[in-house]
């Protein structure tokens, strides 16, 4: 393999990793606050794909992107309010099962509404523009994805580290009841968490599907699971961990495909999960004890 080919594959891998990182953050944020693995997260990402297809059919791309981001964010908040919030006092397993239910609901609802036939993902002209540097060539989206991911992560970390809402999020993640005693509105903080997670999944969805051509009701399953693995790999509840996990899985997966092991690339992700859980269950940067008091 020539140097150019290797670099080319690395670039593709980094780009895929960026999209994974954005989705993985959603898992890790929600887990951090509610100790819930939101199994519906991958399907929110898939729904964002359909939202983009339909909004781009009637609106220019800037408006279509905005609509997709807003509708996905609202959907994330609504799912929490309807399917998770009533179960907050219930045993943790109940809310987890509800999440699995929402996941299947979204898949089957979209099969019913949009059929299981793959729908072509529309081309956003400026994202598809081809860049050439020497022998390397890449579409704009490939370069944009990792950069945008880094920018969004920096903004998110600033929000959590420096603002009053971020402080409240960190407090709620440690101790619900004491946070209430401070006058923090727990429901509002949980909604903000789901809003951020879904918003990032929508951004990830646009970047991911632009490179993938089509969306089906099951397009969210595998990327969703992989990003969950990325979050666990990095240490679930830890944002930089999810980002590192996302990039790692994206890059390794792409390189495996490039080396001709494409049939093995998905298996690799789950092998990684098993090995990580055996060797270091808290993940790369995970805290030692994540159990709530």
């Amino acid at each position: 393999m020539s140097m150019t080919t290797i670099l080319q594959h690395c670039l593709t891998g980094i780009s895929l990793g960026g999209a994974y990182a954005l989705i993985a953050i959603g898992y890790t944020l929600v887990y951090g606050i509610l100790r819930l693995i939101n199994f519906a997260h991958g399907d929110i990402f898939m729904m964002a794909g359909y939202f983009m297809i339909f909004s781009l059919a009637s609106f220019p791309w800037p408006a279509a992107i905005l609509i997709t981001l807003v509708v996905t964010t609202v959907m994330g908040i609504a799912i929490e309010r309807i399917a998770y919030k009533p179960l907050r006092e219930a045993p943790r397993m109940s809310i987890m099962i509800s999440a699995i239910g929402v996941s299947y609901l979204l898949q089957n609802l979209s099969t019913y509404l949009f059929t299981a036939i793959p729908r072509g993902y529309p081309e956003i002209p400026f994202l598809k523009r081809i860049f050439r540097v020497g022998d390397l060539s890449a579409s704009f989206v490939t370069v944009l994805t990792p950069l945008l991911t880094i920018v969004l992560v920096v903004i998110l970390m600033t929000l959590i580290g420096r603002t009053k809402t971020g402080m409240a999020m960190r407090a709620v993640s440690k101790d619900f009841e004491t946070a209430k005693l401070m006058g923090i509105n727990i429901n509002a903080i949980v909604s903000v968490t789901f809003a951020i997670g879904s918003f990032l999944a929508a951004v990830g969805s646009i970047l991911y599907f632009t490179d993938r051509m089509s969306v089906t009701p099951f397009s969210g399953t595998l990327p969703g699971l992989k990003c969950f693995v990325a979050a666990v790999f990095g240490g679930i509840g830890n944002i930089p961990g999810a980002v590192v996990g996302g990039f790692f899985i994206g890059i390794v997966e792409t390189l495996l495909v490039a080396l001709g092991y494409s049939t093995f690339s998905d298996a690799f992700t789950f092998l990684l999960l098993i090995v990580m859980l055996l060797v270091k269950p808290t993940g790369l940067f995970g805290e030692k004890s994540v159990e709530k008091v």
Binding site: A179, L181, G183, I184
Partner: protein, 237 residues
């Protein structure tokens, strides 16, 4: 004038009766204590007043308004705060961030004023303001928990076992601070297993026994009461 009025309050956990229709009141500007053994329902009483636990019956009135069933947030807004048992500082936040959270519902300009007041009461917190709260000693964490409650600029503070697990010297410090903030006009409701120190500090107190109020009296009266002496002050018959 009583600032807090508990009438016939009862609480059930599943089938277990935790509070069996207790009534008591707290005079404005006083230090009042509720003493009782482990499991008597002291913490449950405070948690129910704050809206963290659902009351099965009865009512809580604060400054003449019924607050039973209100959101904790609303109650904090009305100037009633709780320093929870076991301090419960946020270990992953700095001392300053913990204090700021105490002022979560306050205007930013009030926050600065409250912070100055708290640093004046607890200079140690100013020294350690950048440190993670989880790295503080037990006594410092209790100071932080009290300081954090004061950041809400409360009219009344309820404290759940502030002496728990602290060295006697630190307990003395905490109680002198309690008297000091009371001197500044804040009403205090104190829950203690350490009945001795609580009754010496309080204007008057109640004895809570397995879900019911069994005795009432001034601090001195209760200290001299034979039953209290035997049950809570370690006197042998």
């Amino acid at each position: 004038m009583s600032i807090l009025e508990i009438r016939d309050l009862s609480v059930h956990y599943g089938g277990i009766v935790a509070l069996d229709g207790i009534s008591f009141s707290v005079k404005e500007g006083a230090i009042v204590t509720l003493i009782g053994a482990n499991g008597a329902g002291k913490s449950t009483t405070l948690r129910t007043i704050m809206g963290l636990v659902h009351a099965a019956g009865g009512s809580v009135h604060y400054r003449g308004e019924k607050i039973t069933g209100l959101d904790t947030r609303k109650i904090v807004e009305m100037g009633l705060v709780l320093v929870p048992e076991g301090r419960r500082v946020f270990p992953n936040l700095t001392v300053l961030e913990n204090l700021k959270l105490g002022s979560y519902l306050q205007h930013t300009r009030h926050e600065a004023r409250n912070l100055e007041h708290v640093y004046d009461l607890f200079p140690r917190l100013l020294e350690r303001h950048w440190q993670l709260a989880g790295t503080l000693s037990g006594g410092e964490q209790q100071m932080l928990a009290v300081g954090r409650a004061l950041m809400a600029n409360p009219t009344m503070v309820m404290m759940d076992e502030p002496s728990l697990g602290l060295a006697p010297l630190v307990v003395k410090d905490i109680f002198s601070i309690i008297r000091r903030i009371n001197g500044e006009g804040v009403t205090v409701l104190l829950i203690e297993q350490n009945a001795n120190v609580a009754l010496h500090t309080a204007d008057y107190g109640y004895v809570l026994q397995t879900g019911s109020i069994t005795l009432k009296g001034t601090g001195t009266e209760l200290l001299e009461n034979e039953e209290v002496k035997v049950a809570y002050l370690g006197k042998t018959r």
